[in-house]
Amino acid sequence: MILDNIASLKYFYPEASLIGTVIVLIVLDLAFKGRRGKWQAWVALAGLAPALVFSIDLYAGGESGSLFTGMLALDSFAGFFRILFIGASALTVLISVISSDTSRGENQGEYYAFLLMITLGMFLLASSMDLLMIYLSLELVSITSYVLAGFLKGVRRSSEAALKYVIYGGVSSGIMIYGMSLLYGLAGSTNLMEIYKALSTASPSTEFALFVSILFVLAGFGYKIATVPFHMWTPDVYEGAPTPVTAFLSVGPKAAGFAVLIRFFYMAMAGPGPAEGLWAPVSDIGWPLLLGLLSAGTMTAGNLIAINQNNIKRLLAYSSIAHAGYILMGFVLLSAEGLKAMLFYLVVYLIMNIGAFLVVIIVANQLNSEEIEDYAGLGWRAPFLAVAMTVFLFSLTGIPPTAGFIGKFYLFAAIFSKDEFYWLAIVGILNSVVSLYYYARIIKAMFLVESSEQPRLKIPPLHTTLLSVLVVPTILFGIYWAPLAEFVARSLEFLASGF
């Protein structure tokens, strides 16, 4: 079902309601200039509500097709990511209200407007099925992210983060669009399905050109999800950006990057495989092996460099690089099982990583520090905070009974089902062991290091409530994860070529 522009509009309500909210936010910001309070945040949350309702409605409707004459995909895969992104944005709005980085100063309206614009970009990114649309929505996400990374105008670190982000982003999206132009030359179309058709009948002699174009396109996607050769920006940007923005970048745009990676490779570069739920690469070039190597390199580099970090935001940045590596393990398998594990892990990662950053925000509010040594004695000074942080860190490591364990379990179960990637599973397990070391360092600082008679911290009840909202699912999905697994399994129906 290919819908034209007018017929597509009624499937475009989630995006349209976000656009509307952004405009309303900007206009209200002008009209009520200088009015105190956090009303901009509540307007943003109120705008996410209709987007959520429309997204759930579309998801439940279960229709599939392509919108705007083949630009966007309408399927449950895009629906799943829309709901995930709304979750990420809503949590980010809430932690932005708490954080002293972002809740003060002018331009509050702009901050939330940009946040919603990134969400809009992510919506489009997860559903684009045309090279032009992929590029456009990737830029929408990137450019607004640059602005948010440099949101603390007076802070040197923040400006540095934004500048580095712009330069890395500009170079990698330049390389990506060059790769796309090569791909267009090979296939004669920018539509992913058409590209698959053209490539599956192409002569083997085009393989080299195809390989080069895949490498170039990977530069753009790899930069968004922070895989190894393109990860250099991550620590500096994550450290310099306001903490709520860091939390958002590590779960939102990263998940969007994975969504577009899956859609690009599973739609244009792979077709129906030997059995149900399996894909086969379109030509003999071994892109699954290439991504397997990237995955191994990414998790190893992320984990090894994380060991030496003393700033907790930098540590979590390297940890987020490592997690991109873990998630990529599911990508190389070309099976529905692998995809399911990826999506499951993205949900779990969203909850536990925002949770960990929330603790960082609350501690930074109280102690004005992001150094791990200042977490000393937190177990006595703020017991609930320290226990919550421990839960999130255990979950990030993958220790039962937390959601992170189930997520890793799915990933490893998927990868052990394919003989040729045994080595990757072993690399993954070794890396998990390494990661325990640096996560445990924080826990050790909180509980085992004596604090020199410092007073207990007073944590506002709102902060405790929000913390509980994140701790509960982290443990709950570690014990009873069936509903989430079913939701993920339902979301795997996406438009695919050749089926």
Binding site: I23, I26, K33, S203
Partner: protein, 119 residues
């Protein structure tokens, strides 16, 4: 297309590199060198250079440049729209009005925020 078919392009590439490299090398080896004040001064399209080029620009230039791009693109979209206006009918008109309305909100926003004032 086999890889061998790209051979002419490759040969052209080699010739181009050799030609440019060769000319520089030969003029470096046999050419005479005379240096004077005029010759060593930076070339500024025939004018006598004034001051240093590495000056700090006001950041306002960038703001104006970015705003210019946005409204420039708006006009770029309006040209083809105007050409086939009659063919598009009411739908095209409404669609363009929505587009302009969104940009108008942006315009009022930057106006009120003072981005258009130089001082």
């Amino acid at each position: 297309m086999e890889l061998i078919d790209y051979l002419p392009i490759f040969i052209l590439l080699i010739i181009a590199v050799l030609f440019v490299g060769g000319t520089i090398l030969v003029s470096h080896m046999v050419g005479r060198r005379k240096y004077g004040k005029e010759k060593m001064s930076p070339y500024e399209s025939g004018m006598i250079p004034v001051g240093d080029a590495r000056r700090r620009f006001s950041v306002k230039f960038y703001v104006v440049a970015i705003l210019f791009v946005i409204f420039d693109i708006e006009v770029v979209f309006m040209y083809p729209w105007a050409v086939i206006f009659k063919k598009l009918g009411v739908f095209g008109f409404v669609e363009m009005m929505i587009f302009i309305a969104i940009l108008l909100v942006g315009f009022i926003y930057i106006w009120k925020k003072g981005a258009l004032e130089w001082a």
